[in-house]
């Protein structure tokens, strides 16, 4: 038998899953637009719900979304967390903010980074805007937006924001 110092205590057991990811029609269109520096979502003509990134179907009515809608580059922080450990390939150093954000004039959140701010002062409802990578780096990815930064306007009330969106989309539901 071997000496105790040579005891094998474990082994590397990487789990490796190889996928071919198909973006689908709606997301493919979105990615082609974002490669050109444009944020394009989809609107349901049944509920008025605007989703970005688009998924092809309205999450409320289940009906196909066929109308494209160009969105502004401003958004609102819906929730966030402060990350204190470095993430490989992240464009920011810790501590940084990973936030659930909703683009203005849209109704669906997605996850992105918020930077160039003091994380301890960030608030839910904070108004933010997109900061793009250099145009030479643009590709078929939402990472063309490097991160979001606070606009300096401060925070809005999320309940009020939701009520405002309901009012804005009312005409589609009444049509």
């Amino acid at each position: 038998m071997s000496e105790e110092k040579d005891i094998v205590e474990g082994f590397n057991s990487p789990v490796n899953l190889k996928y071919t990811f198909a973006a689908g029609a709606a997301t493919s269109k979105f990615l082609r637009e974002i490669k050109k520096g444009k944020i394009v979502g989809q609107r349901s003509n049944v509920t008025g719900f605007v989703s970005v990134p688009p998924r092809g179907a309205c999450p409320i009515s289940g009906t196909p979304m066929t109308e494209e809608v160009a969105l502004p580059e401003t958004a609102t922080v819906v929730s966030f967390t402060i990350v204190h450990i470095p993430i490989p390939n992240a464009p920011v150093d810790p501590p940084f903010v990973v936030a659930n954000v909703v683009m203005d004039e849209s109704d669906q959140t997605f996850i992105h980074l918020v930077a160039e701010c003091d994380p301890s002062k960030l608030q839910i409802g904070e108004k933010i805007k997109a900061v793009w990578k250099d145009e030479s780096e643009w590709d078929l990815t939402l990472e063309n937006i490097k991160y979001f930064v606070p606009t300096g306007e401060g925070a809005v009330d999320l309940q009020e924001l939701k009520a405002k969106r309901l009012k804005e989309t009312e005409k589609y539901r009444n049509a």
């Binding site: 071997s2 474990g10 590397n12 990487p14 490796n16 899953l17 996928y19 990811f21 198909a22 973006a23």
Partner: protein, 146 residues
């Protein structure tokens, strides 16, 4: 409507870099395997379990009585693989088999490299050791007919 060509596709490789810890009993089993020695463990009923387990199957008490076993055994059950997958231990048709090591009362799963018509329940097999052993199950490259 969109066509198939409109849909973007991308290779996506998801990997979890786990390191698994053997624990007190399997550490000894795999350390022995690295040194070309098979080990079993004795239960309260005096049976030998190989590969060893940490706890008694009947009483659930800690087991510690490791015993050395030979590198030969008997096929107790098997299944033929016509088309090996990339991560299989052999890149040619082979058998997955339950092999009861001589002196053990339980069987272990491993690959058998042998012609299909010679893989049989009751066939005697022996370990083909891997040249490079690190202390894991692939230190046994496969079994072959004895």
């Amino acid at each position: 409507m969109s066509t198939e060509q409109d849909v973007l596709r991308s290779e996506f490789d998801l990997e979890f870099t786990y390191t698994r810890t053997y624990g007190p009993v399997m550490s000894q089993f795999f350390t022995a395997l690295k040194n070309q020695q098979v080990m079993g463990i004795k239960t309260s009923e005096g049976k030998v379990v190989c590969p060893p387990v940490e706890y008694d199957p009947k009483t659930a008490e800690d087991l510690t009585d490791l015993v050395e076993l030979p590198s030969e055994g008997t096929i107790t059950s098997w299944s033929w693989v016509n088309e090996p997958m990339a991560k299989h231990p052999l890149q040619k048709p082979f058998a997955w088999a339950l092999i009861k090591i001589d002196g053990a009362d339980t069987a272990m799963l491993h690959a058998v490299d042998a012609p299909k018509d010679q893989v049989k329940t009751g066939a005697k097999v022996k370990i083909r050791w891997n040249d490079e052993r690190v202390g894991w199950i692939n230190d046994i490259a496969c079994f072959e007919l004895a």
